[in-house]
Symmetry: C2
Subunit: 659 residues, 2 copies
């Protein structure tokens, strides 16, 4: 290629090339802010047409292999998605960032528990009884629908009708805000009142709505008799192993256990792509803490953050929305119930913003009293605004001691922690002594279960048993782990009270649980990172995913400007170095123009492109500014690696720093 050809080809790269280490021209700043303005203008335009925007994003996500419906060649299954090569890389990158922000930063213990779970565990946790949605049936086709979704859809459609009165509109608004808290009867009454029928068919609906358990059921083992479920959350695996993890942490509180894993929920009518799926990835943290001391040593690191918060009182007043609050103040004035909860709110905020979530479209909404589980002390959802509205992406709940107590009671195994008292105190203590010989003779192989169940009695229960044994000589006693009652006789146990000096306080820890819906977070990030811009010639709208280099599935593309042996050799050298640094990249040797290659890479969110246009130096082009710098062949891989790993920014590389 002669010099004229080369410069024409480089011209095709859309922006003038500046040498590395040169001062950045002042005009660039202006161009940069101009560009940002244009993006904002576009964003508000797509916000006016959320469905068209969503469809545009979804098309690219499918076409560029972020995800696709599972089992598509068989017609697909609602609620199941497969992550393609781009989507899986994003997921792995997000998880790696999550580990950095939470597991490593807080020295958490990460574990991996079974998804298959025996029934007894979810009986104890309450999921068998309560993990349900209310559904109604199309009386003719037999199709099922979620009652609250039907009412929501109805209200949203009716609200668009300009002819309705202001009162009616307010009624729909109030119902929309409260629909998730309504009982089966209340939902049924609303469906009747509004004359809501089945979607698509307009057939009548069954009445009243009935609860449907969202857990997938299966049986474990060949007999078919051992009922099991697929976990709908990862947390229970952590709670039942509490004793092990507490020991691993040197029997000290607070400490946190983290788990990333697939969970399964048999949604009645899955929809909204990755937002409501039947199988998805959760990343959960169970932070165990002394209920008498929920302070957090690192809270000062986040207390000055100002973020959009929506406390429950504000939600109950109409016309209110989330407001910027200072996290430190929100904890100090009791809006957030503890430093620990506040600390996690702050860390979740920083994590999401680092991923590329727009902080103006991220709010922390407190659960209303009715919405919160009866045992919860406080609960805040990180909600992200996207084309589907505000979506719950992270739940941050203070679950008190509920879960550990529930499993302790059901299993008969104490799940407790201890803390040294400042001063020893004298207490009346229950002394429970099993008579091994008598128990052994009576219960043989069941002895261990019986003794554990007896030991799990609280003081009141034990004293009641003592009274019955003294009056009647024996007592019926339920052993949950055996699934039956046994008869305890007077000679089998001795129960008494003694005064004792106690040096430790024994208690059930509270749990603060941040639970991350990874698929939802990633989907919202896709929407927030998506933008369009005009091609250089001004004749085409080009798609750009403005992924952070840390999250982008491919960090860099490498194009030999023309196909010749020297450029191919140089391309190989760069690629080999990038591979050894673990940097995902693509080599594009198709015959299309550089402009088209850039467009293709921009659409995939590739932050950097290397054009090999000489044997000794190459140009790097930045996706967002479309600026270029020239770098020597020797240093190009390390420059790209440092930006891909978030150690340097483009601005730092461009002009100011020696790399």
């Amino acid at each position: 290629m002669n010099p004229t050809e080369q410069s024409a080809a480089v011209e095709d790269q859309e922006a003038p090339v500046q040498p590395l280490n040169a001062a950045k021209p002042e005009s660039d700043v202006a161009i940069g802010s101009l560009f940002v303005d244009k993006v904002k203008a576009e964003k508000s335009a797509v916000e006016k047409e959320p469905e068209a925007f969503r469809q545009a994003v979804a098309n690219i996500l499918e076409r560029r292999s972020f995800y696709n419906p599972s089992f598509d060649i068989y017609g697909g299954v609602a609620g199941l998605l497969d992550y393609g090569p781009s989507g899986r890389l994003v997921e792995l990158n997000v998880l790696s960032l999550w580990r950095k922000y939470f597991v490593n930063e807080e020295d958490m213990l990460e574990v991996g528990c079974s998804a298959l779970t025996p029934e007894i565990v979810f009986n104890a946790s309450g999921h068998v009884k309560k993990f349900t949605d209310l559904m109604v049936k199309d009386e003719i086709t037999g199709a099922f629908h979620r009652a609250d979704h039907l009412i929501k859809g109805y209200c949203e459609r009716r609200k668009k009708d300009v002819s309705i009165s202001a009162e009616k509109a307010a009624e729909f608004d109030n119902l929309l805000a409260a629909v998730e808290d309504l009982s089966a009867e209340e939902l049924g009454a609303k469906i009747k009142e509004y004359g809501i029928t089945a979607p698509h068919t307009n057939n009548p609906l069954s009445h009243p709505p009935r609860p449907f358990n969202l857990m997938f059921q299966t049986s474990i083992g060949p007999t078919g008799s051992a009922l099991g479920y697929l976990r709908p959350e990862t947390a229970q695996g952590i709670f039942v192993n509490f004793k092990n993890y507490y020991n691993d942490n040197g029997r000290k509180l607070p400490f946190a256990v983290a788990q990333v894993g697939r969970v399964f929920r048999n949604e009645i009518s899955p929809r909204q792509g990755p937002i409501r799926a039947r199988e998805f990835l959760l990343a959960e943290i169970e932070h165990f803490v002394d209920p008498e001391n929920k302070s957090h040593p690192k809270f000062p690191d986040v207390e000055s953050l100002e973020l959009l918060m929506f406390p429950r009182e504000e939600q109950e007043m109409s016309g209110q929305s989330a407001k910027k609050l200072c996290l430190g103040e929100a904890v100090a004035n009791g809006t957030v119930n503890s430093e620990t909860l506040g600390y996690f709110i702050g860390r979740v905020y920083l994590f999401l913003v680092c991923l590329g979530i727009d902080k103006e479209r991220l709010r922390f909404r407190q659960h209303k009293a009715k919405e919160m589980a009866h045992y919860a002390a406080d609960c805040w959802d990180a909600e992200i605004d996207c084309s589907y509205g505000w979506i719950e992406c992270v739940g941050i709940a203070d679950r008190s001691a509920y879960d550990l107590l529930a499993h302790s009671k059901k299993s008969g195994v104490a799940l407790e922690a201890e803390a040294k008292l400042a001063e020893p105190i004298e207490v009346e203590k229950l002394i429970f002594t099993p008579a091994k010989k008598e128990l052994g003779l009576a219960f043989k192989g069941d002895q261990k279960n019986v003794v554990e169940a007896l030991k799990a009695l609280n003081e009141q229960e034990a004293m009641k048993m003592k009274a019955t044994l003294e009056s009647k000589g024996e007592v019926e006693f339920e052993v949950c782990t055996l699934g039956k009652n046994v008869t305890i006789k007077k000679d089998m146990v001795s129960i008494s009270k003694e005064k004792k000096l106690v040096f430790e306080r024994v208690f059930t820890p509270s749990v603060v649980e941040p639970s991350f819906g990874i698929g939802r977070i990633i989907y919202c990030m896709y929407e927030h990172c998506f933008s369009t811009r005009l091609s250089k010639a001004g004749d085409q709208q080009l798609n750009v995913f403005r992924f952070s280099p840390l999250v982008a599935p491919i960090k860099c593309t490498v194009f030999p400007l023309v196909q010749n042996q020297q450029f191919e050799e140089a391309t190989k050298v760069i690629s080999k170095q990038l591979k050894s640094d673990g940097i995902k990249h693509k080599i594009d040797i198709t015959g299309t123009s550089i402009g088209k290659k850039y467009a293709r890479a921009d659409e995939l969110g590739v932050p950097f492109a290397i054009t090999v246009d000489s044997q000794t130096s190459v140009t790097i082009r930045d996706r967002d500014s479309r600026d270029q710098v020239r770098v020597s062949l020797k240093e190009v891989a390390s420059v790209v690696t440092s930006m891909a790993e978030g150690k340097k920014t483009w601005q730092e590389v461009c002009g100011r720093l020696n790399v």
Copy 2:
């Protein structure tokens, strides 16, 4: 602390401290080899008592939180294990090394597909009919047992009886080698012949053995009518998406798709801890290749490897065992059926050895003709010798075009690739033209499925249909995706043959599948890395896991030699730097002696320990050699990081290199 105290304390660290960058004393080499000899001697001792050895390893693995039985507080569930903090870190490290060795090195596409799978997929793949084990029932208790396991156990027990004849012993040997290939009738006959009864109870067993499907069943959606299974392997998710991935790869062969994910198998009688679990992690690669060209460009990289191989002919001769073969020769003489299969055998070997698997206890065993699936072209298992015997840890199979053809046929969607012909050829080609209007009128919403099914007809089937249409005017036609027959009339399709110049060959790719049982590999690695050695005082046997730094859950411990503010500050500086490098480490400030701290770290397989014994420099101690070097506070973190990431060895750091 005064200098005398300090030197006494450092003395407690078991080995003299040598300065960094000093030449390594010659005596070290001798000490090193002496040590290895001792380990070998110990190893052969434990091999004599595999059960005692296994129990010793298992105790440490549970105590140090590598894994524990799931739902232990409820009595556990056979076949389910939870990975604790140490085990999960090892798993993540192994996966990261796996990605480096396979996904990144070969530019594979990594994907993540659903575990929940509708029935039709496993009908197509053959799993609903054939993914079974043969089981017998204890006629009195109703407990189920695998028929082949009972016979295996019987033969193994009887073989230990020294009074049996040589013929009888040979009979048991032959049966052990063939038991997995026996039919239900043959297994039943052997059980009767030997009078085998149920384990533990000695009750009679049901006859003949019956097949039991190992897939967990569930139903998807609220109606209960959509039968689904949990995937027993990840591969099918990849096959059904073949078209997408082929497009992602620019419609070029060969290419590989990788997937790491949990799979579920409802084992009849799970046992052997992590070896036969009901839920476990598979890492699978589906390498798609032109069946007419299974050469591999990188085969020369592995062809000179010599590894233990056990071809099927050798297995059929009695008294043979695996022999060292050169991989290049094994491919050249047809023992291994293709370069691609050979390449993966070589890469699997390198990966496993890098993990810490003893190469003398790793063999590649070819499947015998009867053992191999009917469609497979060749299959080799990487088997690792452990206390349970030789365990299949990686299966490397050439599955031919079986899977893609099966899904193509069932779904009516062509799963094919094309390759440019060197010269265009003239062929008689089937021309199939659907009459859209007539098909639309007749089938409405089903039209798409009908057309796809018609298009999937092969030439012979299409010509038969043409003949029937011409003679009878209509034909019954099965549309699998609709689950019913439809009537095709003459005016709905036109079928003819035309001569055409063809430039491309269209074909169904072959699949070479390396499939890694991650839990089994890790378990075998635990056994191979485990050793014991005498304490310095010679009074105690100490446990050591000799994990590679890449795999070790914790890379480094940090001990302040005594508790004072200066040492604590220095400890914080080191810890902060290690954390920012992403190096997992533990700080041990318990009051025990340095010797005990080392012992505790050795048992967890921590490769390096930093003792903070001054404010300016510290000592690093190597777990395996127990040697120490002194390093400045400033550089200690980067020295440990470079070793933990496998960039430098202890030998390189010690003495020879400037770090």
